[in-house]
């Protein structure tokens, strides 16, 4: 009997010992985490963090993809030279050429998703939308390389920059306050999601400002735009909000010049490309085109964020010419850096950890290179920057643009709402 009791006692003792051992092991492991040493996870091997980039490196869209990626690369090279994330983790980019094709981009995603902790850059509206379905399924995180308003509330995406809707709203406000009051405002947009974003901003701003948009025309990118320009000319538009890409901007302006139609063109940021100021239509641009963009003007060393970018660019990409896409790419990497720093503090570079870090980071700050972006505790809390940069065309200036106003904000821009 006594033997049985002793057996039970010893059994209980062993059980307690095992339980205590397990607990203390867990506590030890927890201690390691509280020491904030992130465990190895796919894409992080204890010393290097891998980020994916899915962007066109060949084909016509590579004129955007290459400088954007160069901006990403320069930021991370500079950061790595200072030690890396949390002063010790180097960042390595895994770049895949999407050729601007959705199928290729998805296959690239499937190829590298297990080797990266997050995606630094995903370029192309349809591509981002398709990849985002995969990001949601994999609980992963990525940075879209455009200013679509629909990214704002997506928890799997890391939007940066002032959305197109706000650029359009601020642009209309600026025009109204600079001689446009009472004049006839029209719009010309490419017939896709980007065009729809610009028109959405214009419609919302028109309500706030009580302006009537007299005429809206859409066109398929790369198509002949004679009819659409003709409609605007026949409507005697005084100003045209232009939501286009540079190749179409050239043909639209050529048609305007051909018809002797000279409205004030308010062009959303991607409508401009450095070099257009030196084209045959240079005088038209100089007199009638206004650029609605965001961020610090290239070369302004008085802005700390721009000064930092220029220092890094001179060291790691000395041949890089002034380029808005490079600037965007640099800012995008800066945004990812702030999220990774938060993830390093949390001791978790897993995909879920990075998503969690994005909800803890608070506000993404760029020291003037671009507007601060409030991230909040969830994607629903996000509030993008509401400021714009407004510029006119000038030969000899960086990117061919002479800044008219920086940090331009308006009630119309502040009132813009973003849907999921």
């Amino acid at each position: 009997m006594r033997g049985k009791k002793l057996g039970r006692f010893l059994g209980a003792l062993v059980a307690v010992a095992l339980a205590v051992g397990a607990t203390s092991q867990a506590a030890f492991a927890g201690g390691a985490h509280s020491g904030k040493t992130p465990p190895d996870v796919p894409g992080f091997n204890g010393s290097t963090i891998k980020l994916g980039v899915i962007t066109p490196q060949s084909g016509i869209a590579s004129v955007v993809g290459k400088p954007l990626t160069e901006g990403n690369r320069v930021y991370w090279e500079a950061k790595n030279a200072k030690g890396g994330v949390a002063g010790k983790y180097k960042v390595d980019l895994s770049i895949e050429d999407s050729q601007y094709q959705v199928e290729t981009a998805l296959q690239s995603y499937d190829k590298i998703k297990g080797d990266v902790v997050a995606f630094q850059q995903i370029l192309g509206t349809q591509i981002v939308k398709s990849v985002n379905t995969r990001l949601k399924a994999d609980n992963a995180y990525g940075g879209p390389a455009s200013l679509e308003g629909v990214w704002v509330k997506q928890p799997t995406l890391m939007p940066t920059g002032t959305p197109y809707q706000v650029l359009a709203a601020n642009g209309l406000d600026w025009y109204e306050k600079n001689g446009g009051q009472g004049k006839k405002v029209c719009a010309m947009a490419q017939d896709d999601a980007y065009g729809a974003s610009g028109l959405d901003g214009l419609t919302q701003a028109a309500k706030t400002l009580k302006v009537k948009v007299a005429k809206t025309v859409r066109y398929a990118t790369g198509s002949d735009v004679s009819a659409q320009v003709g409609e605007l000319a026949d409507a005697s538009c005084d100003a045209v909000l232009l939501v286009s890409l540079p190749n179409d901007t050239g043909s639209i302006v050529t048609k305007m010049v051909g018809r002797n139609f000279t409205p004030q063109v308010l062009g959303i940021a991607p409508s401009w490309l450095s070099g257009l100021e030196n084209s045959d239509n240079g005088p038209f641009y100089a007199e009638h085109y206004v650029w609605l963009g965001y961020g610090a003007p290239w070369g302004d060393q008085s802005i700390p964020g721009m000064a930092q970018m220029l220092t890094d660019q001179q060291q790691y990409a000395p041949d890089q010419r002034p380029d808005t896409y490079f600037q965007f790419g640099y800012g995008q990497a800066w945004a990812m850096d702030q999220i990774l720093e938060q993830a390093a503090k949390d001791g978790d570079f897993s995909k879920a950890g990075i998503k969690k870090a994005s909800n803890q980071v608070g506000t993404l700050k760029f020291e003037g290179l671009g507007g601060d972006y409030k991230y909040g505790k969830s994607a629903n809390d996000r509030n993008p920057p509401r400021d714009s940069t407004i510029a006119k065309v000038a030969v000899g200036q960086p990117i061919g643009l002479q800044i008219v106003a920086t940090n331009y904000t308006s009630q119309a821009g502040k009132n813009v709402k973003f849907n999921k």
């Binding site: 066109p56 199928e103 499937d110 349809q126 985002n132 896709d192 999601a193």
Partner: protein, 384 residues
């Protein structure tokens, strides 16, 4: 007494046999084994490539019925792909979170897509009664533009310019058994969505191939081929042009819509723009049957696999910087400023060259090469 070989045709029943030789029967067993095992064994990269190849193969089989067997050239495939995909988005629950559309089972919305595709195909088939050749091509090109306009403006159905999310599940629930092909469990192992889509797509490749094979090896198939070879003569001997041309359009379009459903599931999200649903998509399907072999079913499958896998093969196996052996000419470079192609550009160049080479030197495509190899070994060693 010796039995005749499987390839010897003695009567009509012999001619109708689907798998006449032992080699072909063994081949079918091997293919079924591969179908079951391959998705289970391969990684996400190749599952992604092969599931898309399966989707393309289905559309190409449908196009081959129309263009290869009936002689009705068409560049309208993109319109039907779009129709199938948007039906999936609307009826498969892609937009149900926004309170739009329905959340139906996979086979139900597939059936809706097939019926819708067939119905639109009938409408497109009617002008084909009065048109042929280049004129018919122009009509089908017009269809792509009209469809794009419809997709962009019919916002309730497609989401307009913002596009439509596709279903996040592809499930069948029979009460006693259910499966979600985007999260399948096979042999007790949970597979990824690409592997599940591979099972689904290649299952339908088998179904559509069997359907089209049964059409083309029987009386209707001979009628379709008579229409292709000389439609006036076919009509004189009693082939109804109305019936067969319109039927070919209807079946081909229904198959393309089925491919569209799977294409939508593959993409996850679809916006109605030129890059996704434009003329280039239709041309790619045409290129697949040109490379694979016009007028053959397995040519469509070979073409889809070959064209689909080519970019990945180049990405995986060609070095980042590769010079032509001996001559040393730069072919592939990762340096944007240097002479040479990026890997993506190289795939595009090879793709274009292949179309030219096959059109000029091997109009019967990969299927023609395969047939010659078969003929060589069938008569070996007396191949002359």
């Amino acid at each position: 007494m010796a039995r005749p070989t499987g390839s010897m045709i003695r009567n009509y029943a012999d001619d109708l046999r689907l798998f006449p030789t032992a080699v072909k029967r063994v081949g079918v067993v091997v293919l079924i084994a591969l179908y079951l095992l391959v998705p289970y064994l391969i990684n996400d990269t190749w599952a992604s490539v092969l599931s898309l190849a399966g989707v393309v193969a289905i559309g190409a089989i449908g196009l081959n019925l129309l263009t290869g067997y009936t002689g009705q050239p068409s560049l309208g495939t993109a319109a039907f792909i779009g129709l199938g995909a948007f039906v999936a988005g609307y009826y498969g629950g892609g937009r149900i979170a926004d309170g739009i559309g329905y959340d139906l089972n996979l086979f139900v919305y597939m059936l809706i897509a097939v019926i819708a595709g067939g119905a639109v195909g009938v409408l497109i088939g009617l002008p084909a009664l009065r048109l042929r050749g280049n004129y018919l091509v122009i009509v089908t090109v017009g269809l792509v533009f009209v469809a794009l306009y419809v997709w962009k403006t019919w916002t309730t159905f497609t989401g307009g310019n913002e596009g439509s999310p596709m279903p996040v599940k592809a499930d069948i629930n029979l009460g006693f058994w259910s499966i979600d092909f985007l999260k399948p469990t096979v042999f007790g192992k949970e597979l990824g969505s690409k592997q599940g889509l591979m099972y689904l797509a290649w299952g339908f490749v088998f179904v559509t191939a069997l359907l089209v094979k049964n059409i083309v090896r029987t009386r209707p198939g001979r009628a379709l081929q008579a229409v292709r070879d000389r439609d006036v003569a076919a009509e004189i001997v009693g082939v109804s042009l109305f019936r067969y041309k319109v039927s070919a359009f209807a079946i081909s379009s229904a198959i393309a819509s089925l491919a569209g459903v799977l294409y939508g599931l593959y993409l996850g999200y679809l916006t109605p723009d030129d890059t996704s649903l434009g003329l280039v998509l239709s041309i790619q399907f045409l290129a697949v049957i040109v490379v694979g072999g016009i007028g053959t079913i397995y040519g469509s499958i070979l073409g889809a696999v070959f064209v689909g896998a080519l970019p990945t093969l180049i990405r995986e196996f060609v070095p980042d910087n590769w010079n032509l052996p001996i001559l040393g000419w730069p072919i592939v470079t990762s340096d944007a400023a240097a002479t040479g192609f990026s890997k993506g550009a190289l795939a595009t160049v090879i793709y274009a060259l292949l179309i030219i080479v096959f059109l000029v030197f091997e109009p019967r495509g990969l299927a023609g090469i395969w047939r010659r190899i078969q003929a060589y070994f069938r008569t070996w060693p007396f191949s002359y």
